[in-house]
């Protein structure tokens, strides 16, 4: 019996670093297999989608569009900035990023906290009760976790360390032909 690849939660949300890691390793097809075999859909915040598909980019871009067409990646609706829990979560994330990166808080933009905003929006709108966040941005995750637990969403998020997850997927599917 092998360890569980995906945590048992209702929703799975991914940060840019996860998709870029698979793309760099040329193993997006393995991610697709893992995701579809487990009946999982990876949720992508709008802003992260834009980051992964920049205009006039000189390199190749990750095959996000194909993943969306195939149905295993889904773009989320816009973050609900007017919701106070959403904005409190994003403010907290900005604090964490500011402290961790040793940058003044005013230089950390709202957009930097978009994953947190998207998670808070899903919870606040009652679209899900538990979410796994796939990222290697540990300070941002900690900010999300803390803000949400202060606003009635205790134990509703869990971290999946992006690069460990990539390793697990590759180890499991790489040699299955």
């Amino acid at each position: 019996m092998s360890a569980q690849l995906f945590p048992s939660v209702e929703s799975h949300i991914i940060d840019a670093n996860l998709f870029i890691r698979f793309e760099r390793h040329d193993t997006v097809d393995l991610l697709e297999r893992a995701v579809t075999e487990h009946d999982v859909v990876l949720l992508l915040p709008t802003r992260v989608y834009e980051e992964l598909t920049p205009d006039s980019y000189p390199y190749g871009t990750p095959p996000v569009e194909a993943a969306i067409d195939a149905g295993w990646v889904q773009i989320l609706e816009e973050v609900d900035y007017s919701n106070s829990v959403v904005s409190a979560t994003m403010d907290m994330v900005r604090q964490y990023i500011s402290v961790a990166t040793d940058r003044p808080e005013h230089t950390i933009e709202q957009a930097d906290a978009e994953v947190g905003g998207a998670v808070a929006t899903l919870l606040e709108h009652g679209q899900t009760e538990s979410i796994a966040i796939y990222t290697n941005d540990i300070p941002a995750f900690r900010g999300i976790e803390r803000a949400l637990s202060q606003h009635g969403h205790e134990d509703s998020v869990q971290l999946v360390k992006a690069f460990d997850f990539v390793e697990s997927v590759e180890a499991r599917y790489q040699f299955q032909g």
Binding site: E51, P54, Q95, A100, T101, A111, I138
Partner: protein, 181 residues
């Protein structure tokens, strides 16, 4: 006479340095294995790298062994100032086989790559993310994340002792201090 700054323009020398770095203290023969150059060329290149301080001879008797110097120099070349470190030389040596590093060099030059290494070191320690680097360096987030990940792998390989675990309690306390202000 060769200077340290020439090594960043000469991929053969960068690859020789990177191989010495990887092998710890190889002999010239050991260095030559896997390199395209003839042993004679490798001998000459080793002598050059010793002359400019990038390799150190660590033996008194034949066959001599050479160690890659843990260089940390700030130099000026082509009107730009940047820091030469082992990571930079190893990254330059990977240019031929690593498409992302090669493209980054084409777009941002050696000094751009040297800057990216500073970001990548912080990123490896969970003290940086691609969005901030992208904004400060005026590049797309995708490009920043890609080069950070490439360089992170080199850094983890070359500096296995680098601290990668963030102290969450310390971070919480620092944020609390900030919020109390």
């Amino acid at each position: 006479m060769l200077a340290v700054s020439d090594v960043i323009q000469n991929n053969r020398l960068a690859r020789l340095y990177a191989r010495a770095f990887e092998l710890d203290s190889p002999t010239v023969e050991e260095l030559a294995v896997g390199l395209e150059s003839s042993t004679t060329t490798v001998y000459e290149d080793v002598k050059h790298l010793v002359d400019i301080g990038l390799l150190e001879r660590v033996t008194e008797t034949q066959p001599h062994r050479y160690r890659a110097s843990r260089v940390d120099l700030t130099i000026q070349a082509d009107g730009e100032t940047f820091r030469i470190t082992p990571i930079l030389l190893v990254a330059l040596a990977e240019r031929q086989t690593n498409e992302n590093i090669n493209l980054y060099l084409d777009r941002h030059g050696v000094s751009g790559l040297a800057t990216a290494i500073e970001y990548a070191r912080a990123y490896t320690q969970s003290k940086m993310n691609a969005r901030i680097m992208a904004r400060e360096q005026e590049i797309p987030v995708l490009e920043a994340e890609t080069i950070l990940q490439e360089l992170q792998e080199i850094i983890l390989d070359a500096e296995p002792d680098i601290s990668t675990s963030l102290d969450i309690d310390e971070l919480d306390a620092a944020v609390d201090d900030r919020l109390d202000e």
